[in-house]
């Protein structure tokens, strides 16, 4: 199979009664890297959370399909086992559970009972990815995200991405709070995933991540919708000129979700 397809159609999402997404349309296929850009408060992270099934977000209209299957009918863990992955902006700390034990549970959750990953192979794969991401080996035995610096948490999210090998990954502001060296390492990990069987949706409001990861498609979100799409050149223009020209073009005064065009 040459990759999965994630289709988001006319997606409307509310949180505590307030509508944040107002009709998002987007398709991500295996082999494609999409970037979603846009100023703060335009609904980017809501889109990521809604796809994964965050309990606080309510889908009021529209659909999300993964290879034609209705994602909205699935529990969070079923979505993950179907092939979705979300690198979170604020990963939870899980005291008492080591990164290594957690990763093994996550990997085995995708495998049939009786076909669990052999321990030696798991250790070998984990060591390789830790080295690749320039993470100290001790992270494997530390409790998941507990006491991790911001940068360590982001690297750990990418470590999970590399270990779990999803079909479609959503990366929610994976670049926030990273210094330039960490940004390079994180980008290296994401780029390593590139391939026909892997599609990626990268959410960022800085263009700088896209200096290291070249997206095939760039989308701009404002007021809870995708208002403009293009190729990598769109990101470069945003870097150079900011968002005002788009607002002008579309007649938008306030780009945040509280407003309507």
């Amino acid at each position: 199979m040459a990759g999965s397809t994630l289709e988001i159609k006319n997606l409307h999402v509310s949180i505590e009664g307030k509508e944040i997404l107002k009709g998002v349309n987007l398709t991500v296929k295996g082999g494609e890297f999409h970037a979603i850009m846009g100023p703060n408060g335009t609904g980017k992270s809501t889109l990521a959370s809604a796809i994964m099934g965050h309990p606080k977000y309510e889908i009021t209209e529209g659909s999300i399909l993964l290879n034609g299957e209705d994602v909205l009918e699935m529990e969070v863990d079923e979505r993950a086992r179907a092939g979705l992955f979300l690198a979170m902006q604020y990963p939870s700390e899980i005291s008492g559970v080591t990164t290594s034990d957690f990763l093994r549970s996550a990997i085995n959750a995708r495998r049939e009972e009786g076909n669990e990953i052999p321990l030696m192979q798991f250790i070998k794969d984990l060591d390789k990815d830790l080295d690749f991401l320039e993470i100290d080996q001790s992270m494997a035995t530390r409790y998941l995200n507990e006491g991790f610096s911001g940068g360590e948490k982001k690297r750990n999210e990418i470590l999970q991405l590399m270990q779990i090998k999803p079909d479609i990954a959503i990366l929610d502001e994976i670049d926030s709070g990273l210094d330039i060296d960490a940004l390079k390492v994180v980008s290296k990990g994401i780029n390593k995933m590139r391939g026909e069987d892997f599609g990626c949706l990268i959410i960022t409001h800085y263009q700088r991540l896209l200096n290291y990861i070249t997206p095939d498609f760039v989308h701009v979100m404002m007021q809870g919708r995708v208002v403009k799409s293009g190729g990598p050149e769109l990101a470069h223009r945003l870097e150079a000129e900011g968002y005002d020209w788009i607002k002008e073009e579309l007649g938008i005064e306030d780009e945040t979700v509280g407003q309507n065009a």
Binding site: D77, A80, S92
Partner: protein, 435 residues
């Protein structure tokens, strides 16, 4: 009071019980004196738990247990306590009140280490037992239950490590209440002489889900100057047993007493774990975990009282409450006047898994000295839905995610148990209790 608290055992019964075991005269006198006091003394008053109508007096007092030839003859549930491939060198297994199996590494016994049941110790090491038995740690007359314990003590072990002897291999005791109606009135006395070191781990187990009986346990740990005692326990009495367990330590100069207690009883339980840091520079880490289920009511008090200058006390309690279980966690730090430079930290955390469960964490600091540091933290909460969301977003089922969070919550204490097989066994008990 609805419950008849009149004792079912009288002076002549105790005289006979003591005579049958050829106990020394002082022991018989101690028992009889305690019996007299038990009539008039009141029950202890654990903070926020009413125990007035709990059964502490209705039980069968004796039952014999057969000896076994080898550890591998034990039932599987007891074999869980050790690694069958790598059998422990130093172990006492008490079946009801009889020693079913005991062995001690010869090298250790040549060095003067004593690890034997309490009745043998009374015969062979009378002076040592007499010197410490209910003297410096727990007193007979503290309340009705300590007095009852002294009067009716029917089992236990004596551990003695001479000066300058450091034991690397752990000493392990298994107290197996095989008869569903018999009470364990168990006394554990651990004496670590100057500059000695030992690790002791005990397991209590019973299967009486229906039959009502009592466990009345007193443990005394004496750590002389520079001694280091690491004490681990897994309590696993079934729902029919009402438990009073008092584990008390006394630490002298630069002594260390560390506790790692897995308190997994299914019946009502009052637990006191009190350590007196008498000597300068003495240290105690008191760690305890529990899982409450069914309708059981439990009260856990961990207290460290500090007299020694620069003494250091750390209390860590973790509890998981499910179904209609109720638990009170009292963490008490007491720093006496003159204990300058003392430090006392306490943390009590309770995780609630059901609407009907109740948990209460009460950190208490009582300080009579200016030059000290102290701190406490307490929390009672539910499983964080964001943690579950995060774990499930990696494909882990909700059930497995909850399991990970619960085990993780208890891990800081479980990890401290000093014997790998016991740690594993505690994890299994936790697994059974939370699922």
């Amino acid at each position: 009071m609805t419950v008849d608290t009149k004792l079912p055992y009288d002076r002549s019964y105790i005289e006979q019980f003591s005579a049958e075991r050829n106990e020394p005269e002082w022991m018989k006198e101690l028992r009889l004196n305690a019996l007299d006091q038990a009539e008039s003394l009141e029950l202890p008053k654990p903070d926020k738990t009413k125990i007035g109508n709990w059964n502490f007096t209705r039980f069968k007092h004796v039952a014999t247990g057969e000896k076994i030839a080898s550890l591998t003859d034990l039932p599987a549930e007891i074999q869980d306590f050790f690694d069958v491939e790598n059998l422990p060198e130093n172990i006492v297994i008490q079946r009801n009140h009889t020693v079913a199996f005991a062995q001690l590494n010869e090298e250790l016994s040549n060095k003067g280490v004593i690890f034997t049941d309490i009745f043998t110790a009374l015969k062979e090491h009378e002076d040592l037992v007499k010197r410490y038995y209910m003297k410096d740690a727990v007193a007979v007359e503290e309340h009705k239950l300590t007095a009852l314990h002294a009067a009716l003590m029917n089992g236990g072990v004596f551990v003695y490590v001479p000066k300058n002897v450091q034991i690397e291999e752990p000493l392990q005791a298994v107290f197996w209440q095989e008869d569903p109606e018999v009470a364990l009135v168990n006394h554990v006395l651990v004496v670590a002489e100057e500059n000695s070191e030992l690790t002791y781990v005990e397991n209590y187990i019973s299967n009486n889900k229906e039959e009502a009986t009592v466990a009345n346990i007193v443990t005394e740990v004496i750590a002389q100057d520079n001694a280091k005692v690491s004490f681990g326990a897994v309590d696993n009495f079934a729902a029919g047993t009402t438990t009073y367990v008092n584990r008390r330590g006394v630490g002298y100069r630069h002594a260390t007493i560390d506790w790692a207690l897995g308190q997994m009883n299914d019946g009502n339980t009052v637990s006191e774990n009190v350590t007196h840091l008498i000597g300068d520079g003495s240290v105690s880490n008191a760690n305890a975990v529990t899982v409450g289920r069914g309708k059981q009511i439990q009260n856990f008090t961990a207290k460290i009282a500090q007299w020694g200058k620069n003494s250091d006390a750390q209390i860590l309690q973790r509890g998981v409450m499910k179904e209609s279980a109720t638990s009170i966690f009292n963490a008490i730090g007491k720093i006496e006047h003159g204990a300058s430079g003392a430090n006392n930290e306490q943390t009590s955390r309770v995780l609630m898994l059901s609407e009907k469960a109740r948990g209460d964490a009460n950190p208490i600091l009582l300080i009579d000295e200016d030059d000290v540091t102290a701190g406490h933290a307490a929390s009672v909460g539910r499983v964080d839905p964001m943690q579950l969301y995060y774990l499930m977003s990696r494909g882990i089922t909700q059930e497995e995610a909850e399991r990970l969070v619960i085990h993780g919550f208890l891990d800081p204490v479980v990890a401290q148990l000093p014997i790998a097989a016991v740690k594993k066994q505690l994890k299994q008990v936790i697994e059974r209790k939370v699922n």
